[in-house]
């Protein structure tokens, strides 16, 4: 037999609208529950996305290490010795390190007073010698031109990539920087590209004030021999950043006659660890939102179930009469379940829609303090979330009707219609 036809729908609608205030009051519980669930999840989503947007474009499994002074005497060397990484270390790590994916040595160049000059304009900035794979660790936006590439490295070209703040300082509005020469610490470099930050996360200071030179060029022009002091790594899939940090340090200690137990000789920072804390925070926020939202929804469902129980009790005689007139147990179950289901569905849908509307408003709120408003491009209430909410709604409608329907089934016609 058909469960829903116009007849049974009209029958159900008639009973729901019979007691309008009660139906509305009952439905409000579910309305509020679903509304809260959607709004809370949207807030959680927004919060997560806002924080993630700050570090977006930064490799989450990145490790940075640098040279410090040794803290233990070893192989005849005194403690407190200064040392530097050498170009041979790059090949060594490529050969030995199993967990390392990207190996990106970085050179630091110190700026001075008005050390960067273009025509009449000048400024004071530090600069870095990098390999092209540096951009795989720290993604940047390319405003114009290109980034440092392998040919720059191989030919030790005197080229540079500059951040947008530097561009704005050294060049006039609308002026094309690419191809122009700027003087850095007395040496002329040709600008090949302008970059801007992809996110707020960066290492070596803000990207918009960065000057990138080819690693080999900088080594040749500003450093002694083939030494440098800084490494960036990322982990291979399946390996943690901590493993990378340990393995790289172990190999480098051995190569530079540093005691295996000397933990202070090579400094390191592990981005993954920070991300783990972030992720735990996000998970915590999400779990909390679901708990609170579902809790609100659950109390709404219990409300509907409770009212339906009262209704069934009130309608004992009516149900008995229906049974006497030929209503099958199935008819009664369908009737009671449909009533609670329809009530839940209507209230829930309204709650859902209002929740989505409010969520869209939430999307405009800035969670990043004085930073730019992060408008999430993907819908704040995702399709998956909407489907989940609908599923939760359907299940709650059924759940709310179960107990009352079972109660109604227990009503025997003769007990209900007895006149005594």
């Amino acid at each position: 037999m058909k469960v829903f036809d116009t007849d049974s729908l009209q029958e159900i609608w008639a009973t729901i609208t019979r007691n309008k205030f009660r139906s509305v009051a009952t439905g409000f519980g579910v309305f509020w529950g679903l509304f809260m669930l959607i709004v809370l999840l949207a807030i959680g989503n927004k919060l997560t996305q806002s924080i993630l947007a700050q570090v977006d474009g930064f490799a989450t499994n990145a490790v940075f290490i640098w040279t410090e002074r040794t803290s233990e005497p070893y192989k005849g060397y005194r403690k407190g010795r200064w040392f530097s990484f050498e170009n041979s270390d790059i090949a060594l790590l490529k050969q030995r390190a199993q967990t390392v994916d990207i190996i990106s040595p970085v050179l630091m160049g110190r700026g001075g007073d008005k050390n960067v000059v273009h025509g009449m304009k000048s400024g004071s900035w530090g600069f870095h010698g990098i390999y092209p794979n540096f951009y795989d660790i720290n993604t940047v936006n390319q405003d114009s031109g290109r980034l440092i590439n392998e040919i720059d490295i191989a030919q030790k070209r005197k080229v540079c990539v500059i951040g947008n703040v530097i561009y704005e300082t050294l060049f006039g509005p609308g002026e094309v920087a690419d191809g122009k020469f700027i003087r850095i610490n007395g040496i002329y470099f040709q600008v090949v590209g302008v970059i801007s930050p992809h996110s707020n996360a960066s290492i070596f200071g803000p990207v918009d004030e960065a000057i990138h030179l080819p690693f080999s060029t900088q080594q040749m022009l500003f450093e002694r021999g083939d030494s440098f002091y800084f490494f960036g790594f990322t982990a291979k899939p399946g390996h943690s950043a901590t493993e990378v940090e340990e393995e790289a340090k172990t190999i480098l200690r051995a190569a530079h006659d540093i005691a295996p137990t000397d933990t202070k000789a090579i400094g390191g920072v592990n981005i993954e660890h920070q991300f783990k804390i972030f992720n735990m925070l996000f998970t915590g926020v999400n779990v909390l939102m679901w708990l609170v939202g579902l809790g609100a929804l659950l109390s709404g469902i219990i409300g509907i179930s409770n009212i339906m129980l009262v209704t069934v009790r009130e309608r004992m005689r009516e149900i008995g009469v229906r049974r006497a007139l030929g209503a099958k147990p199935w008819n009664i179950i369908v009737q009671i379940m449909s009533e609670s289901f329809l009530l839940t569905a209507i209230a829930g849908m309204l709650g859902f829609l209002c929740g989505v509307a409010v969520s869209l408003g939430i999307d405009r709120i800035n969670f990043n303090g004085d930073g730019p408003v992060v408008i999430i491009h993907e819908p704040i209430v995702s399709f998956g979330l909407a489907m989940t909410a609908m599923l939760v709604l359907v299940l709650s409608g059924v759940a709310a009707g179960l107990l009352p329907a079972w109660r109604a089934l227990k009503i025997k016609a003769i007990d209900a219609i007895r006149d005594e």
Binding site: M1, T6, D7, Q10, E11, A14, T15, R18, R317, E318, G320, V321, R322, R323, A324, L325, G326, A327, K328, P329, W330, N331, K412, A413, I414, I417, D419
Partner: protein, 233 residues
Amino acid sequence: MIKIRNLNKTYNLGSPNALHVLKGIDMDVKGGEFLSIMGASGSGKSTLLNVIGILDNYDTGEYILDGTLVKGLSETRAAELRNRKVGFIFQSFNLISFKNAMENVALPLYYNGVPRKKRNALAMEYLEKLGLGEHADHLPNELSGGQKQRVAIARALISRPSIILADEPTGALDTTTSREVIEIMRDVNLKEGITMLIVTHEAAVAKATDRVIYLRDGKIESDKHNPNPVIEF
């Protein structure tokens, strides 16, 4: 039509306060009869009515309705049989308060799967037969007692049952209306040929029927033909 053989029913069977209410009832009712069952309170007449109306089951014996053995039926099957074979008229009418007269009359057809338009048209027809055509869209609380009972009669009639069971149909009515209701029932019995079984403790009602069965202590005490049924209240 109805064939009952050695029917026994005990409430709380097997417990110390078991109550043997029907003690070996034997009874036959032919199609188109107009009969009443009388008896004091506790004589088992309501229980017998419930068994005949397939609202209650029995322990031993046999009850055959229209050639169908009614015994140990599932709730669903019992509901089906009730819907098609039995019409009920109750002392307190038992109309559904939020449905108007027409919808109340049409309800048995709803459970029989008759489409809305058809069953409402049929309900109107029956209401008009009972002189309630103008009250079709009135809710039960807008109707008088007599009108309510007439709606109930229309509801019992609409599924064209083999038998209509009336439990104290005049119990809640004054004498004038009681007379009216009994007249209608007699009329329906004659014109439609539907068997009418009335359970009552009012002698006046019993006098109006063709046959009177007296029940006492769960047994049939007497089963008399009434040669001159008279309706006088």
